[in-house]
């Protein structure tokens, strides 16, 4: 009874990947891979996704800790706010980032006028857009891990004279490390695939903001075979990294 829909579901998930492989221009593959635009986009994608993930870890892990360990009024509201980028269409996120951090934005106007520094349409903007969209994945994952961890270990550490920072660093983080790594991987994968917020907030400039998803979209219009190659590369890189980490960290207990 359940096998048929289960197999249909599997086919639904696997078929597009098969299509990608079937239509790949294998004969011209080596030449296309070596094209400087391709390598440029790949490099940019890996770089921005990694920097965005580091940014998410630096800000998101303490945020998850705050939500999981500190009782404060309005915690439910803050938790709801954190998940907004998760449900917001990424293009809308990009527009919102422009309105906040753009040249005339809430927080962007002052640095633009004072130092002539402007964030949109730079590589940094790509990182910001990706981090904005990907951070909720990390926060939710780490908060879940923190809630599942026994906080009495932290009490034990306190009785041994550990300050809050020491407890966080030497007890809390090591205990929930699998959760942090899992959240980081999700976050990285989401950042790598980011399209809507990036193209809205950072634009589509070769070598500066044109990441792999943008390059795929652009190639679809002019050179579909090239789009297939780019898609394959993105697929292989994602699967390789997820598989590499999965066995060590993300494996179901």
């Amino acid at each position: 009874m359940l096998i048929v829909p289960a197999l249909l579901g599997l086919a639904f998930l696997v078929l597009p990947l098969a299509g990608l492989l079937a239509r790949a221009p294998w004969s011209t593959m080596p030449r296309r891979l070596a094209q400087p635009e391709v390598l440029e986009a790949l490099r940019l994608s890996l770089l921005t996704a990694t920097v965005a993930t580091v940014l998410c870890l630096l800000l998101g892990v303490p945020l998850a800790w705050l939500l999981a360990r500190v009782a404060f009024p309005g915690r439910r509201l803050v938790r709801a706010l954190v998940t907004i980028p998760l449900v917001l269409p990424p293009v809308v996120g990009g527009v919102a980032l422009l309105l906040a951090l753009g040249r005339r934005g809430l927080a962007g106007q002052w640095p633009a006028e004072t130092f002539g520094v402007s964030l949109p349409f730079t590589t940094a903007a790509v990182v910001v857009a990706e981090a904005f969209v990907a951070m909720p994945f990390l926060v939710i994952s780490v908060e879940g891990a923190l809630r599942g961890a026994d906080d009495r270990f932290e009490e034990a550490a306190a009785t041994l004279g550990a300050s809050r920072w020491t407890i966080f660093r030497r007890v809390t983080v090591p205990l929930v490390l699998p959760g942090i790594v899992a959240g980081g991987v999700l976050c990285w994968a989401r950042a790598l695939g980011e399209f809507g917020a990036t193209i809205t907030f950072a634009g589509n400039f070769p070598g500066v903001t044109r990441t792999m998803p943008l390059a795929v979209y652009l190639a679809m219009e002019t050179d579909p075979e090239s789009a297939i190659v780019l898609s394959l590369i993105l697929l292989v890189v994602s699967v390789a990294i997820l598989a590499g980490l999965r066995d060590r960290w993300v494996a179901a207990p």
Binding site: E155, A156, A157, A158, T159, L160, L175
Partner: protein, 348 residues
């Protein structure tokens, strides 16, 4: 620090919905105080309050004359051994013990050296590199003790330190724990629900029931003169409250003659082994004798514990041979008598 006499004075008040803890404790330097009580009596709450892990609703804690209750947990000169030890699973036994000294500002190498000495003292030097999950229950308990003592606490708090161990291990760990506690010169408060553990390890007992002190004294005093049914059950005595008139005590219509000359409200206690059962009314004094009904019988060591109902509830320990001779069975009416020499009375 070190060697200076420490005294703990605490009045602990913790209020929760449907529960109130209100106890007063005094522990002298080098003394071990056991908080004994049934589950839910508030023992662990009292311990957590002293550690600062549960906030006091009211009250105060003075250690060596200085206030402890105003300090945050991490600044209190305490060592805590938790019921399930809470050894950090990601650290080796050595690093678990070194954690406290590190937090107190010792350099990494010095902290690990101190930790190594402590592990040696508890006899686990060769397990220094082991992770907690590789240790047996008894070993984990000793690492937890070493970890708590390595910060040189002035107040050592132990929450059911042997409860997680199997019966065989408990015996050897208990004697080791006793040795380490006698070496410790600060004040020790131990929480337990096991009377034997309390008697063996503690210099003084405080029995807590329903959040208040039900009885306190030396183990001997508490064992000989229980003041609540809970304590009487723990130490295996039959306990009654009655009225004394100088040379006898009346408990619910049953008269007891006792050695002590008392008047007014008193407790009467006697061990189940002092009770004898008869099919017919024995001759002699009408005192220390009552008509009872057998409500149940069970194996109790080498003897049979007979649960008696009637004017007063009592337990009687008699030999299996006597059970057979008398043809005892539940539901039967018998005469119960108790030796006056084994019946003790003391003021209520």
């Amino acid at each position: 620090m070190g060697g200076r006499p420490v005294t703990l004075h605490a009045r602990l008040i913790v209020e929760r919905p449907r529960f109130r803890l209100d106890i007063e404790l005094t522990v002298a330097a080098g003394q071990v105080l056991a908080l004994l009580g049934p589950n839910g009596a508030g023992k662990t709450t009292a311990l957590r309050a002293m550690a600062g892990l549960t906030p006091l609703t009211d009250g105060r804690i003075y250690l060596d004359g200085g206030p402890l209750h105003t300090m945050p947990v991490e600044e209190r000169p305490i060592g805590v051994v938790f019921q399930d030890y809470l050894l950090f699973p990601h650290l080796s036994a050595l690093d678990n013990v070194a954690f406290g000294p590190r937090c107190q500002g010792a350099a990494k190498a010095a902290a690990r050296r101190t930790a190594g000495e402590w592990l040696e003292r508890v006899g686990l030097a060769e397990h220094a590199a082991a992770r907690p999950r590789q240790l047996s229950g008894g070993q984990a308990q000793r690492v937890a003790l070493a970890r708590a003592l390595a910060v040189h606490p002035r107040l050592l708090l132990l929450d059911e330190p042997l409860a997680a161990l199997d019966a065989h291990t408990r015996l050897s760990v208990r004697s080791q724990l006793r040795r380490h506690l006698s070496d410790f010169d600060g004040a020790t408060v131990l929480v337990t629900h096991d009377p034997l553990e309390a008697m063996v390890l503690a210099d003084r007992l405080v029995v807590i029931e329903d959040g208040t002190v039900a009885q306190e004294g030396t183990p001997g005093q508490v064992a000989r003169r229980p003041r609540t049914d809970y304590v009487a059950r723990l130490v295996g005595l039959n306990l009654y409250r009655g009225t004394a008139d100088g040379d006898g005590v009346t408990v619910d219509g049953v008269e007891f003659s006792v050695a002590e000359h008392l008047r007014g409200q008193v407790f009467v206690a006697f061990p189940p082994s002092a009770v004898a059962l008869y099919r017919t009314r024995p001759d002699g004094t009408p005192r220390n004798l009552w008509r009872a009904r057998i409500e149940g019988m069970e194996r109790h060591g080498d003897n049979v514990r007979v649960h008696l109902g009637g004017p007063i509830a009592a337990g009687a320990d008699i030999t299996p041979a006597a059970v057979a001779d008398l043809g005892l069975s539940p539901g039967q009416d018998v005469w119960a008598g108790v030796k006056a020499t084994e019946t003790h009375a003391y003021p209520a």
